[in-house]
């Protein structure tokens, strides 16, 4: 019975992956990874700028979300009874449930409107804000697993609390924190809605974070709803690449998790 259930759960996943691989692989070629999109309706071209754009956006999101998330998580773990902790934990849980398009709207109001144009920065802010609660909660959980005895050992050596946290607690939990960051990044890599009116998409190369930038999910979206067969095929290829990226990040996260010092 449980075996059947397992199959029932796994079957759709493998069907999707198989279908994605079959359709996507057909459109994957060297051009896809090296060229920018061609003119509308023209066959050929690729998504190189979108792949790079996704990497840039995740990087920006990380610059914003990782420090906030890790520091927030550390605070919650080290001061579990503080009123701020209760508030932060509640906020993180609510943020986790907020529809991602609302995050896009938030970044739109916060960054796009004051600057008066779409930009990679605003997309990074939208994704970064989404990264915060994930990183914060995973950091909190792993740091709380660090036994009190290590903190006490350090404090008893006459090491101040802040140094104890940074030099003893964080290294002990480091691999787990990195795992949380990677899982969070894998999650936001595929987000489309928050980028619609922030990063906006771009048919050309752009390395200026103040300008609109391409992103894989956006490119997949606009190609999928286009009327051109070649673009449909490229959308499948883009989807395959996106899934591959997410998969790779998840595997890296597993590898990081395996390096975590045993805490139980």
């Amino acid at each position: 019975m449980s075996f059947l259930c397992t199959v029932a759960v796994l079957a759709p996943l493998f069907l999707i992956l198989a279908f994605l691989a079959r359709t996507g692989l057909g459109a994957l070629n060297w051009d896809f990874f090296t060229k920018i999109p061609g003119a509308a309706g023209e066959a050929g071209g690729g998504m190189a700028n979108a792949i790079a754009g996704t990497v840039v956006l995740i990087g920006l999101a990380g610059l914003l979300g990782v420090p906030l998330g890790v520091l927030g998580g550390l605070y919650m773990a080290e001061y579990p009874n503080a009123r701020l902790t209760t508030l932060a934990r509640f906020t993180a849980d609510v943020m986790n449930g907020v529809p991602s398009i609302v995050m896009g709207l938030f970044a739109y109001v916060l960054v796009v409107l004051p600057l008066r144009h779409f930009s990679a920065l605003s997309g990074g802010v939208a994704l970064g804000v989404m990264l915060v609660p994930t990183v914060m909660r995973t950091t909190e959980e792993i740091v709380r697993l660090v036994p009190q005895s290590f903190r006490e050992a350090s404090l008893a050596l006459g090491i101040p609390q802040w140094k104890t946290i940074l030099r003893v607690v964080v290294p002990t939990a480091a691999a787990g924190i990195v795992t949380g960051i990677m899982v969070g990044m894998a999650r936001i890599a595929g987000e489309t809605a928050p980028l619609l009116f922030t990063a906006f998409g771009n048919r050309f190369w752009n390395w200026n974070i103040m300008q609109p930038i391409a992103a894989l999910p956006l490119q997949i979206f606009s190609y999928a709803i286009s009327p051109f067969d070649d673009w449909h095929r490229q959308a499948w290829a883009g989807a395959l690449v996106l899934v591959a990226i997410v998969l790779l990040v998840n595997i890296a996260a597993r590898a990081a998790a395996a390096r975590q010092v045993k805490l139980r």
Partner: protein, 272 residues
């Protein structure tokens, strides 16, 4: 020649190279609370310099709490507080202008369960206190690590694998590593909170032997629920019960002719 040999031997097992000063402790009317629980009710005792003083008593009698009041570790527990005076080298460690961080540097502590830092090598574990205090000089660190490991009687066992993780050692070795780590910051007093209760009998004896050896150079206070251990290792013993110091005197007297009925009942195994 004989003289030289002897010097080498003394050097190996002595903490004298690290401990430049040691001191006794006077506790005066020490009270401690966990939230509303009154865990220590006015403890006054004088802990003599350069000897092992044992604190015995049944579980929950406040002996560990008292120990943790001697280096201001008690107040780290949420809701915990303490009052009274604890004089270390004549100065009250609870006076308002005293930094608890500095108190903990001066009064070292070894815990019940060996707790080497899991991400650090044997070397880094011993060097941790100095490194985190900003000491970067490699020569100084090398020297202190070697002296500390000698003092903790661990050097011969680990000298060829200093870069291995501290957690790769056996339980007894880990506890001696923790002692080395505590000695490395040159404390004036060493507190031991049931340091052998998680160890096998052979390792326990080594720790006891070490405590006696170290006491030539540094004041040691050891909490134990093992009365034989207190008898083997200490010069003076205090018996705690329900947060009070029932009797304090020479270990010999406490175990052979206690003045208090409750002390006698405890050491003869009638309760606890």
């Amino acid at each position: 020649m004989v003289q030289v040999m002897e010097d080498v031997r003394v050097e190996k097992h002595s903490a004298a190279a690290l401990i430049d000063r040691t001191t006794g402790i006077q506790a005066e009317d020490v009270h401690a609370w966990f939230d509303k629980l009154h865990a220590l009710r006015g403890i006054s005792m004088t802990i003599a310099e350069r000897q092992v003083t044992a604190i015995i008593g049944p579980s929950g009698c406040g002996k560990s709490t008292f120990l943790r009041c001697l280096n201001r570790m008690h107040e780290l527990v949420p809701g915990a507080r303490a009052s009274g005076r604890v004089l270390v080298d004549g100065g009250d460690i609870y006076s308002p202008n005293v930094d608890p961080v500095e108190v903990r540097r001066r009064v070292g502590m070894v815990f019940q369960k060996p707790n080497p830092f899991p991400t650090m090598s044997i070397y880094d574990n011993v060097a941790a206190g100095l490194k985190l205090a900003g000491e970067r000089n490699r020569k100084t660190l090398d020297q202190v690590v070697e002296q500390s490991l000698h003092a903790a009687a661990l050097w011969e066992e680990v000298k060829d694998r200093l870069q291995k993780p501290g957690t790769s050692l056996s339980g007894g070795q880990q506890q001696r590593l923790c002692i080395a780590r505590a000695l490395a910051v040159s404390p004036e007093v060493l507190l031991m909170d049931e340091p052998a209760s998680a160890l096998d009998p052979a390792s326990t004896l080594r720790i006891e032997e070490l405590a006696r050896e170290l006491a030539k150079d540094i004041t040691i206070v050891i909490v134990t629920h093992n009365m034989q251990q207190a008898a083997r290792v200490s010069v003076e013993t205090g018996f705690f019960l329900d947060g009070e110091l029932i009797e304090f005197g020479s270990t010999n007297d406490i175990f052979t002719r206690p003045k208090e009925r409750r002390t006698e009942d405890y050491i003869t195994g009638r309760f606890g």
